[in-house]
Symmetry: C2
Subunit: 222 residues, 2 copies
């Protein structure tokens, strides 16, 4: 019982911090995305592709969440964007106060889009609001099409779903019918993109969608 109370308190504190982040980023006109998915779903590779696609169109920074390493951050730095690594030291998700600390290391005046790449985890990353405008969930076809009902919270708390590694589809028993049926049950508003970072399928469409969302967000500023 005690643990549950503490957990509630932790989540409440997190919510307050997330609200502060939301206010700050609205003021700075920075659109925040919380990118989530299983380990190996392809989050970093998608980011590489989107950063390349939006080059010269939107100014991007990334907060990289990871347990211990800086590998993904190193991969993204090559694309000339601001990258801040947050090492959780074994915690399975990012929390708003970690993001707030990272924000102090980013020049918010010169960016339009800030992407948080969360720790690879479909469970607890769904519980912690990081102040984002939208949540994006990446599901690779190799993970199987039963994941929506098994991890419903993360699919409920996302606005965009990226079905990744489409090039592998024929080697799996992934069922798009099952995905459609389950989204109908728990999140009818979900916007879905089919992606393959190998063939490039869907990268343009997803990037344009992101760009439009940033434009809308920035148009409502002040």
């Amino acid at each position: 019982m005690k643990v549950v109370n503490i957990n509630e308190r932790v989540l409440k504190r997190n919510e307050q911090m997330a609200a502060e982040i939301r206010t700050l980023l609205k003021e700075k006109n920075v659109f925040l995305v919380n990118l989530r998915g299983s380990p190996g779903a392809g989050k970093t590779t998608i980011l590489e592709k989107v950063i390349a696609e939006l080059k010269g169109r939107k100014r991007i920074a990334v907060i990289e969440g990871d347990l211990y390493t800086t590998r993904d951050a190193e991969r993204l730095e090559k694309y000339g964007v601001q990258v801040v690594q947050v090492n959780t030291g074994g915690i399975c998700h990012l929390e708003a106060d970690m993001v707030k600390q990272a924000l102090s290391k980013i020049n918010l005046e010169i960016i339009d889009l800030l992407v948080i790449e969360n720790v690879g985890n479909l469970v607890c990353t769904a519980d912690y609001d990081l102040g984002e405008e939208i949540g994006i969930i990446v599901l690779s076809v190799s993970e199987g099409s039963d994941k929506i009902m098994k991890y419903p919270l993360i699919f409920q708390s996302s606005e965009i779903m990226l079905i990744n590694k489409l090039d592998m589809l024929k080697n799996t028993d992934f069922s798009t019918v099952e995905i459609e049926r389950d989204l109908n049950r728990i999140n009818r508003e979900m916007v879905v993109f089919n992606l393959s970072c190998k063939t490039g399928e869907g990268i343009f469409e997803f990037s344009r969608c992101l760009e439009e969302r940033i434009d809308e967000f920035q148009a409502t500023a002040d």
Copy 2:
């Protein structure tokens, strides 16, 4: 600070409970395996194959960990083994007291092997000892070969690693050289099996290894 202390207390209580489970299962001569991996790594499918392979040789029961659903348990029940579903209600890992409750629903007198299929998660499932004799980690090639250094604890706390979905290898940039190098750094004793549930590769070898471990365990009983 308070949260950390509570967490330590939770882990300490978990350890005591795990020790009780270990004692009980030693007494009952039941070999306990803690099977872990990302969502969609292929844990349930591997279990289906191993149960079929060990049919008539070892008597098996399964504890299925999942957030909310009973899907995996339903899949396994078809193989005629005892299956107990544990729904964590949103918690990202199993804990020893959940396993203890499940044990009361299993007839331990008539089994040799009890497999716990943990929640799909590479992080917190590494923290909670469930009283197992061995930890097994499943990594599918589609997840990428950078996972050992990104989630070191779970690879350190496992004795057997199953590299799964080998049939997809040619469609990925998975590097067995990277895996070997990283295992050399953090767990030189790891026993590795290459598996494909599609082609059947490695299922026989892994099942035999498991059988030998059960025989050794049971031979040292009393």
